[in-house]
Symmetry: D2
Subunit: 442 residues, 4 copies
């Protein structure tokens, strides 16, 4: 699952507010406009979001006002008009939603409280680029902002202290830039932090695969035959959940290590062709393209459900279904029946886009983890002494990963054990961590 497509750049002279801000510092952001004014930058950023926004609208029934939010002058309750949202009238509703969410984001709240005193980002300008709602998942903006600055405003890099990137694609691009010697600032890869990977992918998908399938199809899982393509964290989560619900699960893999894991976890490892005729559900979790081809689709049985939990909208070759002999029938939001001439129907969810973003919700708790991780990475990059980070891509320091985790333990009334002095010495560890070598796999 690539569900958090957020990207932050820490810079000296521009700033869009981070999704969840630290109260005191927020006023700083608002008071001091920068050379590259917020408006112009946010406009450009907004432009890259345009398509997704209007597409998303087609799935919501409330889009009666067709005017672009960028062409409307709006004011909030304090008289400020320096923003661009679809409908400022919903601000109060949004505020209340945020307040409810805050109750389930204890770590972020704890961090905010601490930050109120320390003001670790005082003076920082933060440019952010993120999907606002799950509805916009048809778009992948991973690294778009960096790319755009690199192409259009290369000089701006001089003023940038660092990049925090959370999307798979964005991280991939950063590593490519780094390899090519073109990365001009330090970048933090928070996508591959442990907590992010395990929560966004394994633990979150374990729940959202069930949720997404239920909300769209009301199907019963028990006894169904399912093939899951890909046994990474997302695939592992999907398989575990469906197995627990009484489905019979097959797995396809290209990586022999993950394949062996699938075997040991009790799943038959097959090629897609071997089971495509018999399965009731096909789920892609590979990050790859054209995993499910038209040939596969032609061979599926009537009423087979096809959906994507992996990457963007590339995994299922949906374009191959846009041919004259096939009839598309939208049976409900996010659910299409694609009908073959002989009457066979394939049930395609979310048009092959991410099921978990399109058809289920991301728990607040998971957002808390990713947001806290991002905030800590911002603070680290902004406050790191000269020279700690070079023009390269860095994983989140393990100690911060551990800190994010520790902030979330009270939610579960979980009590951590502390090493005694004697034990710490025996293990050669600091009592406050980090507790594991960098290559540890959890």
């Amino acid at each position: 699952m690539l569900n958090s497509k957020k990207k932050y750049i820490v810079s000296g002279n521009s700033g869009i507010k981070a999704q969840i801000q630290f109260a005191d510092q927020k006023q700083e952001f608002n008071k001091r406009p920068t050379k590259i004014g917020r408006r112009s930058l946010s406009r450009s950023i907004s432009q890259s979001s345009t398509d997704s926004y209007s597409s998303a609208a087609s799935y919501t029934d409330s889009s009666d006002d067709e005017t672009s939010p960028r062409d409307k002058q709006q004011k909030n309750s304090k008289g400020s008009s320096d923003f661009c949202v679809k409908n400022i009238k919903q601000a109060e509703f949004g505020r209340r939603e945020i307040e409810i969410a805050e109750q389930e984001m204890p770590a972020l709240m704890a961090l905010r409280k601490r930050a109120q005193g320390e003001k670790p980002l005082a003076g920082a300008k933060i440019v952010g680029c993120t999907h606002i709602t799950a509805q916009t998942a048809i778009l992948d903006d991973g690294g778009d902002l960096t790319h755009w600055i690199y192409k259009k405003y290369p000089n701006m890099f001089k003023k940038i202290k660092g990049i925090v990137e959370e999307s798979v694609t964005g991280v991939h691009r950063l590593y490519q830039l780094s390899k090519a010697g073109k990365l001009c600032v330090p970048a933090m890869n928070v996508n591959d932090s442990v907590t992010k990977q395990k929560f966004d992918n394994l633990y979150c998908c374990r729940e959202s695969i069930l949720d997404g399938l239920k909300r769209t199809t009301d199907m019963m899982f028990g006894g169904k035959q399912v093939v899951v393509c890909g046994y990474g964290e997302v695939g592992k989560g999907c398989c575990a959940a469906l197995k627990a619900m009484g489905s019979i699960v097959y797995v396809t893999e290209i990586d022999p290590i993950c394949a062996l894991q699938a075997c040991m976890d009790g799943f038959r490892l097959v090629k897609l062709n071997e089971v495509i005729r018999q399965v009731d559900i096909v789920i892609t979790c590979t990050g790859n393209k054209n995993v499910v081809t038209r040939e596969h689709l032609d061979r599926m049985k009537n009423s087979c459900i096809v959906c994507n939990m992996g990457h963007s909208n590339t995994e299922i070759d949906v374009a191959s279904l846009r041919t004259p002999e096939l009839t598309w029938e939208r049976v409900r939001s996010q659910v299409d029946h694609v009908i073959w001439p002989d009457g066979k129907r394939i049930i395609l969810l979310a048009e092959g886009r991410l099921l978990n973003l399109s058809c289920s919700t991301v728990p607040t708790f998971v957002l808390s983890i990713t947001a806290t991780t991002q905030a800590l990475a911002l603070i680290e990059l902004y406050n790191a002494p000269e020279g700690r980070y070079k023009q390269d891509v860095y994983l989140l320091p393990k100690k911060m990963d551990e800190y994010v985790a520790s902030l979330h333990l009270p939610t579960f009334d979980a009590h951590l054990t502390e090493l005694t002095d004697e034990q710490a010495k025996y293990l050669g560890l600091n009592k406050n961590g980090p507790f594991k070598p960098n290559y540890y796999r959890y």
Copy 2:
């Protein structure tokens, strides 16, 4: 679990045979004695094993001959006497056991077949240090051989091409040597290869915790309250198995990330003190020392079972139970009742040594994985071009890890999917792997 305490050194002039040899090369080993003769070296190695051997004997009923194997002159069927085993008369039995085992070690057999043609270790002298049987687990020889060469024969390092180390302790020592700038040859840390970690620890312990407890106590798992100390791979395996059998499992942890994983997997995270009075079983899997103290033991309820799946014999403070007011009663092999003055009995397994080594068996399949991994590491170190490996500690190259896994897939009739050219290009991967970045966690 630290169950494979094997250690190989590739050198130019000495050689004890690897446990599973490549036939043709084997003769080379036997024909050319080295300056540091095998006998003297094996003697020394044997010395370090002496204690364990005689201790182990106390648990087997067949030890009627008290003469040390090193003081007996023995001959095998071919007339060779250049070895040191306890009883050469059992060679035929051992050969048959090996033949049966070979049937379940398809990867090692495949590798041997390939090696017969290529002879990748021709000319190599290999010194090995390993536990021969599970019975000797009371001893931890991790890195002892390296340490001993370092202390006694430092000049020998000039003739050594590299070290392959599979024990946790041995790896730990190598990293310390490296950090101190004292490591004179390249070393391969195969302990932390993915397949080794997951199979030796997670998958193997998931089965052996049940096996070890059943064989020693015949207890029923359903409804029992268990506390597992440590939620690394071993702890994860133990917890998953016991949960599946209907036990109620509590977890203790010092690392907040592993702690959060325990929460998400459905286990109450507690401090040992909170549950010590109520649990039926205490299992240590930390790698730490004095995790279970006399104070804990004093507070356990009658008939509580205490055992160790983690490291050596340090985790439970067994020494603290050797006091006059407590009575020890050996009720069967590997099972002691420790009796308090008020009649309370604690059931201590394997005197606090590793339960899985002392009281259950390691599946041949797991041995196949670790032996194949070691053999590949030997081949890599011996054949690597000058300069590929410096005087440092290396993880097994991912490609080899993947190769070991792929050799074991046929056992499960598992069919791997191959990337198309188009897909490989899209992902930026070689079709033959490696398929993941080094930091990938599986």
Copy 3:
């Protein structure tokens, strides 16, 4: 779970169509009106549904027409006006929904096909009483129709061949009537058929508890502490699902046998008071009343979710929350925050009514099982030779239960093994079943 509140009466002279009809016989129903005309009977039945209908309306946004359906004259496409529905214009939509549903009800379709030839209900008049949609679950009509005939039209019993009852309450009343010697016709208790019990309760609730909680709260299950009150089939399903999703589950029970099962399945058996302060979710599945009292509600922690999967709306004492000091806040459909003076919020789902009926959907597959069971029971009662059934309550004959199950196996591509003659003789069984004694528990 008491989710199928359907009730059929086979009689000689009246008939409301069964939800799923057998095509040919349907015309019979329409052609011959009976003395006790359909209209008058349906009116009365409708009356008992009035309250639920209008209540349900408050949860749907489409209720613009406030006129009662009984006061509107409507015509269908064939000109018939002998029915009473809310809006005949939606007939086409309903027809299409039925067609989609039929694809997932293979057993019912198989039965219908067979019935088309045999016409086993030719001449029968069937009066039915059922909830039309899940929305009406605030109401419990179990046995209402029988009760109403008994009270108002006792003479009508002379014309009734039998009763088929599927609701828990209705069955309970029938047993009471029988005990009191007041049951005048044979009655079939299909509520306690194996397939109905296991599918409606165990297998269906295993899925719908997750679905209902997700749709209403978007909560994450992993790591949450949950107490499930009652370990019958419904409780077993809820516990298994939540355990699999990584929740920590406690169980309360009054029956020592079910309690022991909970223990063996790995759940701590507690009294509600012991855990009420610490749990994140409380789920009732008892069939009892006032299981969760105001005292419990007062002691729950902030944000605790409270819901009912068991019986009607009796299990949680919701009335006790209608006091001046507590504030109710409807945060979304079916979700109320009840706010204590100190700011503590309890999240109450479906106002204490059945979560699975109010907030999730019943899979078509489960409806297929219950509908097929009912149809077979109708056929059996209607065609049974004189004297086979007396004025008593009967369980569905095991052979029919087995037949219903066998009709659903093809859905799973499941291949049943047949006994050889020798085996059947050895077991003393007929090769076509029944295969088990009546007391067998599955």
Copy 4:
């Protein structure tokens, strides 16, 4: 699993002691010899055990004394010689084993304590027929004693107050006698009590299948393909355990209801022929005969493991393997390799007898449940007022089943909830139970 082949007859004038006795009453047994003296009866009973004893001996290494225990005069420490055991010298060891066992049989101890005061069996003579150790499972004595009395001493029935039968076969014979009108005394079928069924079969086999396979083969379960024949309680237990350990499990069934359960629990339902070539393990749990035939055995792959968890030794056609072209090789106790001319080996466990009895142990806790159940049934039959039980077969009264369960709850520190008066009235239940109708399935 048919592992408890115990049978008690309550009679006025004979008595072998129940395995676990009530202390005071025990002396009664010893003091008053009956017409059909204990010796003669026990002789006959012993005779039927002879074969099993000597067969068992072939698997134990300690059988040095070939004299039959019936031909040896022995004395216990109190001078009594009125018994027949193999070796009275082991009495002390046995006493200590019993004392240890008593600690895990809290219910039986509680019952004994209560009985000490009430003496509910004072004056009763009890004849028992039971397997003494797990080793004797090659024999099925179910109902043998009743059958033998019926054939040899029909007049004795006049003096018998009732029969308590716990073996499947014995119960089957009782029902046949009853059907034929030939049962002269009331009989209690305790085999089908809930606690017995669930514990002896479901919960116990869930553990013993793993234990039995490990102890005999040291195999790894992860990734193995297994077919389980029969999805009754035993099959359910085996499937659940192996699924949890990462095996891929197929199920065969003859009963469509159980078949549908297997589907919903996530197992492919197949005919044995469909998977016989690919599976690594075949487990029979049917109670049927010739489920695995020579034809199946011929088609299995090399190293396939075959074992029986179901009934006696009938399920696998072992006799068909006793042909000249096949070689049998005993590789360890209870494990035979059967070798085909082409070298293929089948690994046959316990020669097709019950794996759980032959190769694993029955937890004391389970024995506690069955022994308590039997004791209560004896008390009930002996004390029931004239006329309560006729010449028929009865299930254990539900209240006793619940009582047995309640006695075992303290072991798990399980806290039962009590109904309030208001709740009991609402449910129409007595606060002390029984809590369920007789047809309830748990």
